[in-house]
């Protein structure tokens, strides 16, 4: 019984609502009509694979990867680590995890970010890594700052890191955001609030992990990620109608 079955259908009620008037941009960017629900096909069950040759030595070190090791980024040093598993609780090895974030002042290095918090000359804001054979990954970075954004009159994004994961099939593709334990802005954020299931929102909040922190160096936060799983059964490939 190999892990080649159909993808388990997405539980859309465990995801954010596409249309949420409190997150104004979603109003014109959400489909009005229902999605077409279908069993996965080889087009969704296959997907790109990336090898270790892709990953540079500093790619998962956002403190150093923009300056090429010349000078560290400004901010509170943190390690973000965790495990990528699927809905069957199986590890997802050798899959690409990408992150991006604002700097310690809450500013992105992007032509469209005009917030007056300063750019850090030694911080770019992106990183990537592959999970190991057991699904584990880690990044070294600085804690991103909260920042204001144009939505309602006075909305602020909580401190967050964007996380993109591939899995092993195109149908597993996922982008999410990591929030930090104890941040009072999470409860006020209309983007976080697009996730209506409280337990699912809690799963986006990384706890402080003192056991994984390094004395006199960095604090650690743990962020586990669950991707869609595949049905595990020998009752597959029945001709139509049987």
């Amino acid at each position: 019984m190999t892990d080649t079955g159909r993808l388990i259908p997405r539980r859309r009620d465990m995801h954010p609502v596409p249309y949420d008037p409190e997150y104004k941009t979603s109003v014109t960017r959400s489909p009005n009509l229902p999605l077409l629900s279908l069993e996965s096909t080889p087009s969704e069950e296959t997907g790109p694979r990336f090898g270790h040759g892709l990953i540079g030595a500093l790619d998962n070190n956002l403190i150093l990867n923009f300056s090429k090791g010349a000078a560290p980024a400004i901010g509170e040093r943190i390690r973000v680590h965790g495990r990528v598993v699927d809905e069957n609780a199986r590890p997802v090895p050798h899959t690409l995890v990408e992150v991006w974030q604002a700097n310690a002042g809450g500013r992105y290095r992007h032509v469209k970010d005009t917030y007056f918090a300063p750019l850090d000359p030694n911080f770019g804001g992106c990183g990537r890594t592959l999970t190991d054979e057991n699904g584990y990954y880690e990044f070294l970075t600085i804690r991103p700052g909260a920042y204001p954004w144009p939505n309602r009159g006075n909305d602020w994004r909580p401190m967050h890191i964007h996380v993109s994961v591939f899995g092993h099939s195109f149908g597993q593709r996922l982008i999410t955001q990591l929030y930090f334990e104890g941040d009072p802005l999470i409860a006020l954020c209309p983007i976080a609030a697009t996730v209506k299931d409280r337990g699912q929102l809690d799963q986006l909040v990384a706890p402080l992990d003192m056991g994984a922190s390094r004395p006199m160096d960095y604090l650690a936060y743990r962020f586990d990620i669950v991707l869609r799983g595949r049905r595990q059964t020998m009752f597959e490939n029945k001709p139509e109608g049987m």
Binding site: R29, L36, L38, H110, L174, P239
Partner: protein, 199 residues
């Protein structure tokens, strides 16, 4: 009480936000040098077998405005319908591409080879198609759709056959505009809304 299933729930999606390019295609976003080059620059290498094609289009929001900040990923089979990584697949086709709407015009371009038809699990052939995944600010969970081609026989495609309103089938079919040139516009909402997939 019953036995515990021991299964997990998929992590909730969140929007890629306005700066998704920083994380996925940093050189495009104005951060050159962090990586040697952006991931997914091309789904094909020199010598890929098949007809080289270019697909261009725009993605429109519910007001009809061409979005300038959307990012796309595509995944496809090789010219004979084999997915990369499966036996006999063309080694010059990696099948994956990342591309973005132009920041000034909103137009995107995908240059690739036309994929072959792919056999489904039930043995029925799926007409040649490219799978597309769309993320942007305001899109809370990435949108899946497919690009088919108007110069292929799409009449027996199992996915297209499932679309009840026949005019909506056209939203998934790229229009041939010249030799190797196709147009595929995406409408997120409203009149002519593209069929998006829960698949």
């Amino acid at each position: 009480m019953v036995q515990k299933l021991g299964t997990l729930t998929e992590t909730a999606s969140q929007t890629g936000g306005p700066y998704v390019h920083i994380g996925c295609i940093p050189t495009f976003a104005g951060l050159p040098g962090v990586y040697p080059e952006d991931l997914g620059l091309s789904p094909i290498a020199e010598g890929a077998k098949g007809e080289v094609i270019t697909i261009t289009g725009s993605i429109y929001d519910g007001t009809g405005w061409a979005m300038r900040d959307a990012m796309f990923e595509s995944w496809q089979a090789d010219g004979t319908g084999r997915y990369p990584g499966t036996p006999g697949a063309d080694p010059a086709v990696n099948g994956f591409c990342r591309f973005a709407a132009d920041k000034d015009t909103g137009e995107y371009t995908l240059r690739t080879i036309k994929p072959g038809a792919v056999k489904g699990h039930d043995g029925r052939m799926m007409a040649p198609h490219i799978s597309i995944w769309i993320v942007a600010r305001g899109i809370n969970i990435g949108l899946h759709t497919r690009i088919y081609f108007d110069d292929e026989d799409n009449s027996n495609d199992p996915l297209l056959a499932r679309i009840e309103q026949r005019p909506r089938v056209d939203t998934l079919i790229a229009k041939r505009e010249g030799a190797g040139q196709y147009r595929f516009d995406i409408r997120l909402q409203g009149q002519g809304e593209t069929v998006f997939l829960d698949i």
